[in-house]
Symmetry: C2
Subunit: 456 residues, 2 copies
């Protein structure tokens, strides 16, 4: 146990920002099952060039290279907003009256307001480096769209963002911030794609989903000269880029002579969780340490806790390659839970494999309990958390309360992925007592999973 | 000139956060003219006890104590979100192709999104320490109201915020965040006070002003048991608390072997500017250095550049004591400029005195030029600035461009007071080309100044 007194916020020096990403796959005992083309054949790098730029396609399929140098141009931008602080939640510990030590890695100190910028910068850089003209993507809550807008503006790339229509309407300011970075923002489903037009023909009032927005963005990328598609989560390349979160956290804890007993992260597609846990999962796989690793997902979209580990499409339009992952079925429609970043039907194949093999746990949290934790945290720690991040706060507080019961002074680390400045509608609903959450019934999930691709 | 390579963001260690506030008045050659009661007699500490809690009343009138210990309870909260980074704007320098070195002190890394928290925490602490039950205040853009909500929640105080009605309607999310911290937010003018009722009787559609909101907040404070009034700018006590900005900036620059040739801050009531420049102004007064110090105000509300140095009321209702300051007249109605935090008719008496005595310069900036600078900055430095802060960016960029012409490698320091997450309506207007700015005519200003108290 550490005898050092941790500061409230520990910032590494600029020269301690990681210069290499860590590729967790290189240390996994078993690799995640391969990405498949719609015909069932494992995808080769060239197969996905129409969608992803070459270096990203390579990273996506590279399960062997343990350390990958971060390009200087990416590092130069990381230095503008990183390192992010490792914070000790002294006030929360005191309020919970727990013997546990609670640390959190805060990734919200940049304009995008979240960790998403770590991968956005990398993806935009590789696209620019290949001489591309523009990018397409989708966004739900808007964190990824904002981060990518920022990255695209920085590298001088055009950007088209398909934004889930319910979010587009609920969050006009998210659109405004993307437009401030000169991105073109389109409500999805839209009449700009075949996929979108087909969905609107079936239901003109369709509010959209991440899966649909992905279909539209991919369609535009593969049919527009000089364009490629990028994604902010789920993919192996994204977890690779996000490893900077975990590497910084591990180094900061090392300076404090600390090692976490429990590591907690919210999980939608897995971008934050996969990045945060990377070095600790490595220790676990290599037998050097045995921390508990906990994914927290919304009860309204419970891929880990109630989904199936199976091959599925990454999008609703069934146009993408197939991934083996925990999924609720690509046609799953989550309720209008405000943690928009956690409303995806699937989950990172890397994390899915680790969860399947028993390296991780998962819990589901209900929205009102999550906002209760968010509000308490905001008052004590002077950060207003994003609803997504607040799932991790909820679970961390629950673990700390368990420590209070048992008297164990465990060290907890959780990922505070971003700020909630653009989520005030949800906070208002919580403040006014009108917040709701709809948990899918077993019948609904079974029906949705019926649509999984067969014979894979 | 420094030979050290500055990091993009320099964070001091937790133990380098100032433990004392610096009271600039103690080093001024001439003191600011005293605060007067409405009868023209200088206010004594006891005179203002009905409005301010005792320790703050003392700080308000204390022109002698050079260093004032920051209470442990306040320091404990500072540690949660401070030190704030001193940033080097390498990307902006490159884009402007300037030999100048541009540094900025970024105060937006806390939930309130601005520097306002530095004084809010202090004021809430002293109120709690005196055993008070609650506080009242006003807010324009919402930064101060948010900061004080956060501080009041932390110390367990009730809070009533009078929010200028135009802002209240334009910025529902500002209201939501204050309510998340359990503040009661009332649109001003309101029917909850005599002042408000009188104004509404004259014009039911009155959109409010900071001056009116102050009148209402003061009225409630002095008529409610266990309540006092607090203010986020203008006052001497506020500049005192905000000295942490300048003290941290000076120490960080010292570590880099740097000293600024030009120090720039936006100025509404003067809270940020007064705090940022404090140690540098001290050097200037004591003859140890001679930096240029530049206040930037909006052309729509030009107290320094077109106002009069005279005794005036701090509020529209003429209920407060009188301050000698640069003022546009307490009845001045600024146009609906979106930099709501800079729309006050008056200016800090300390800064007014220094400006009057030739220690400072002032420039006025037009809104579209300010947003042009804001957008460029956001793309290059990954921080979306508040419109208020962007006034300082505009002036810093202009100075850097002047350096390009002259070839001088000057060192520029400006204050980046906060983030623009709640100002997306203004950004949208700028993006869409519908932003306007109305500069008062000479006749309007003359008419407004006619209303100044006579014979003082």
């Amino acid at each position: 146990m550490s005898t050092k007194k941790a500061p409230h916020r520990l910032y590494l020096n600029e020269n301690e920002i990681p210069t290499r990403w860590y590729n967790l796959r290189a240390d996994m005992k078993e690799q995640p099952d391969p990405m498949l083309l719609p015909n069932g054949v494992p995808a080769k790098e060239e197969d996905i060039y129409p969608v992803f730029c070459k270096q990203l396609a390579h990273q996506e399929l590279d399960g062997e290279t343990r350390w990958i140098d971060i390009p200087d141009e990416v590092l130069e931008v990381y230095k503008v907003y990183r390192p992010s602080p490792l914070c000790r939640a002294y006030n929360l510990e005191k309020a919970l009256d727990t013997p546990a030590k609670i640390y959190y890695k805060f990734e919200g100190n940049n304009t995008s307001g979240s960790h998403k910028l770590n991968s956005a910068i990398a993806q935009a850089y590789y696209a620019k480096d290949e001489g591309l003209r523009g990018l397409t993507t989708e966004t739900g809550a808007g964190q990824w769209g904002t981060a990518l807008s920022e990255a695209a503006a920085y590298f001088g790339l055009e950007l088209i963002v398909y934004m889930v229509k319910v979010s587009y309407n609920q969050k006009p300011f998210r659109k405004a911030i993307m437009e401030t970075f000169d991105a073109k923002v389109i409500a999805s489903p839209s009449d700009t794609t075949n996929v979108g037009r087909a969905i609107l023909a079936a239901d003109a009032d369709d509010g959209g989903s991440l899966g649909t927005a992905i279909s539209e963005a991919v369609e535009v990328a593969v049919t527009t000269e000089g364009y490629r598609y990028v994604l902010g989560s789920v993919l192996n390349q994204v977890l690779l880029h996000q490893s900077v979160i975990g590497l910084e956290a591990a180094l900061a804890l090392e300076k404090l002579d600390e090692y976490p007993d429990i590591i907690i992260g919210c999980a939608g597609g897995g971008s934050n969780l996969g990045g945060l846990i990377a070095p600790f999962m490595r220790d676990k796989i290599l037998g050097k340490a045995d921390p508990r690793i906990v994914a927290v997902e919304p009860a309204s979209c419970p891929s880990f806790t109630r989904g199936k580990y199976a091959y599925d499409f990454c999008d609703t339009g069934k146009t993408t390659p197939l991934a083996k992952m925990y999924t609720l079925g690509s046609g799953f429609k989550p309720s209008a839970n405000h943690a928009g970043g956690l409303r995806y039907h699937g989950m990172s194949p890397i994390l899915s494999k680790l969860y399947h093999d028993g390296y991780m746990e998962a819990v589901a949290a209900e929205q009102t309990a999550v906002f209760e934790a968010a509000k308490q945290f905001a008052k004590l720690e002077t950060i207003l958390p994003a609803p997504e991040s607040a799932h991790a706060i909820r679970a961390a507080a629950d673990e700390a309360l368990r420590c209070k019961e048992t008297g164990e002074a465990k060290t907890i680390l959780f990922g505070l992925t971003g700020t909630g400045y653009f989520d005030m509608t949800a906070y208002s609903q919580y403040n006014e007592g009108t917040m709701t959450d709809r948990i899918p019934t077993d019948e609904e999930l079974a029906a949705s999973l019926e649509g999984l691709p067969k014979n894979l």
